[in-house]
């Protein structure tokens, strides 16, 4: 279980550029949950998730993973980092090995796996992210933007963490690749009871995947709830630099025009199921 208790974080505390990135954030995420995190750029999303695997230390409040306080000197942070896999924003910067395969093996080797075990996991993870075999011997620097992104995600997956945190993982991926990776992650989440925290600027992706959404605004939690609860508040979301999925906007427009369609529609499938009978009924009546 993941718990934040009244957590605050300030960059360059005391200096002229002091910046309070998180301000009294409390939340709780249960094992096996799929959580979406949205918020305007600079709202504190990346700061929050770096606190979750001990990369940053809170300057107020507590971060607790499976009962262990990360600020406690006795806590084994190395162990926490194997348990909580964090795929950072712009993960392609972290590619540095000679070949893509070696890069993906880095994490598993670090965990103490043998070379052959690490490679087996790496090939599996590469396949999960849709990286073709033929690229594994290439230098990571010669990959296209989206291919680098896939390699970086594969590196985290190969560590088989219990909690997977992805910071805007699909920026730069083509639509097919984006769906492929996200649906595979959802599949792993279901089959292996993986806890997933997905930070994303794609309202459509978060709507499709998350059971629960946290909305950050200027370092504070603005709201949280199920996708239909959160995306019912479109005016407020727009005020804080976000939006609702395009399909929700279609439904909102229809409702305004007097069509009897419920609030909180957030996937194309939902819209289809509700609209098809409505339109057919109208056509019969006319």
């Amino acid at each position: 279980m993941i718990k934040l208790e009244n957590v605050s974080y300030t960059y360059m505390s005391g200096g002229p550029f002091e910046k309070k990135a998180l301000d009294g954030v409390s939340l709780r995420i249960d094992p096996g949950e799929f959580v979406g995190i949205i918020g305007h750029t600079g709202s504190g999303k990346s700061t929050m998730i770096q606190l979750l695997n001990g990369l940053l230390k809170p300057d107020g409040g507590r971060v607790i993973i499976d009962g262990e306080d990360l600020s406690d000197k006795k806590t084994d942070l190395r162990g926490i980092r194997f348990k909580v896999g964090l795929c950072m924003q712009y993960p392609e910067y972290q590619l540095f090995e000679e070949t893509v395969l070696k890069d993906i093996c880095f994490g598993p080797l670090n965990m103490g796996l043998s070379k052959s075990e690490a490679e087996e996991r790496a090939r599996f993870a590469a396949n999960m992210t849709g990286l073709p075999e033929s690229l594994l011997d290439k230098s990571p620097f010669d990959l296209s933007g989206g291919q680098k992104r896939r390699a970086a995600i594969a590196g985290i997956l190969a560590m088989e963490p219990k909690v997977l945190i992805l910071d805007e993982p699909t920026a730069g991926l083509d639509p097919a690749g984006r769906d492929e990776i996200l649906f595979k992650i959802r599949d792993m989440h279901k089959r292996m009871d993986l806890t997933v925290l997905l930070v994303s600027h794609s309202m459509e992706d978060v709507a499709k995947l998350a059971d629960r959404i946290f909305v950050l605004n200027s370092g504070k939690i603005e709201m949280s709830g199920s996708p239909s609860e959160v995306f019912a508040k479109s005016a407020r979301l727009r005020e804080i630099g976000l939006n609702v999925p395009q399909i929700t906007r279609v439904a909102d427009r229809l409702r305004e025009a007097g069509v009897d369609i419920p609030a909180g529609i957030y996937t194309v499938g939902d819209a289809y199921r509700i609209l098809l009978p409505l339109i057919n009924k109208r056509l019969e009546n006319n």
């Binding site: 459509e204 427009r253 194309v268």
Partner: protein, 279 residues
């Protein structure tokens, strides 16, 4: 044109652009789509002579990009914003970063001041003028990079996934800005993107696949081809997709809708409801 990356060690070459012919008209807003690794960035790098073709020619305003004596003429006309904003940050203060390109072009000081302020204002980053770029979040950096290109007042603005890291508000702002620069300022724009709702705003869309132009046309011609786009690794806006699905059961729907406003209007028409749509 054809382009091949050469591996220095093995001498092997990889053909990445394979017989591309493309004419971007002055004042046009072109969107370039295609799956990862299809060759979009490679094509973009030919537009300001970072790369030159292995065979064939690239002409910018009539200037051959392979003519090294005229490199400056090419670079002066083409502003670039790349996929990766950190590689573009050169200075330690935001406004100096934005001033970097016009300084290199020899723009007079007073004029630079004006352009920098204006560019930062357009991308909504004026409040961060004095900040260090490394302190900005991903999306904030991207806006500064766009301001840097705008400060050059280029004739052609080439943007390689400029909104990939922006929040929905920031993305909308940047695309509106680009639309305005294009429509009112007459700036020619080539936008590479994986967001279909951005591509629908362009005058023309091309899809690159495996180094070739696989599909080309106005957004209203391209996006109704849902299956074709899916097979090219792309998708369509949710509005277009909803109508596409409903069309299988309901005849006579207009499949060329591209956004939420058009989609709602079309559904209301199908239901026989007359209502003026809000903007």
């Amino acid at each position: 044109m054809v382009f091949e990356y050469k591996d220095e060690d093995t001498g092997k070459s990889l053909r990445v652009l394979d017989g591309v012919s493309l004419h971007i008209k002055r004042g046009e807003f072109l969107a370039v789509l295609g799956r990862n690794g299809s060759g979009k960035s490679t094509l973009a790098k030919h537009m300001n002579a970072i790369l030159t073709p292995t065979s064939g020619t690239v002409l910018i305003d009539g200037i051959d990009t392979s003519d090294e004596n005229r490199l400056f003429g090419v670079r002066r006309r083409v502003g670039m914003v790349f996929q990766n904003p950190d590689n573009q940050m050169v200075a330690t203060i935001v406004e100096e970063d934005v001033a970097f390109a016009p300084e290199n072009l020899g723009v007079p000081r007073g004029e630079i001041r004006k352009r920098v302020d204006e560019a930062l204002d357009i991308v909504g980053m004026s409040a961060f003028k004095q900040h260090a770029p490394h302190m900005l979040s991903g999306g904030q950096k991207q806006r500064v990079a766009i301001a840097g290109a705008l400060a050059m007042r280029p004739e052609l603005l080439v943007m390689d996934e400029p909104t990939a890291m922006l929040d929905p508000g920031g993305r909308a702002e940047v695309i509106e800005t680009v639309k305005k620069l294009n429509r009112e300022g007459g700036m020619t724009v080539a936008l590479i993107t994986h967001y279909m709702d951005e591509a629908v705003r362009a005058d023309r869309v091309i899809v690159i696949d495996n180094g070739k132009i696989a599909l080309e046309g106005r957004p209203r011609e391209v996006f109704p081809q849902v299956e074709r786009l899916t097979s090219l690794g792309l998708d369509v806006p949710q509005s277009t997709y909803l109508i596409h699905m409903l069309s299988e059961k309901i005849p006579g729907l207009d499949k060329t809708v591209l956004n939420d406003k058009e989609c709602a209007a079309e559904l209301l028409r199908a239901m026989g409801i007359k209502k003026e749509a809000r903007p």
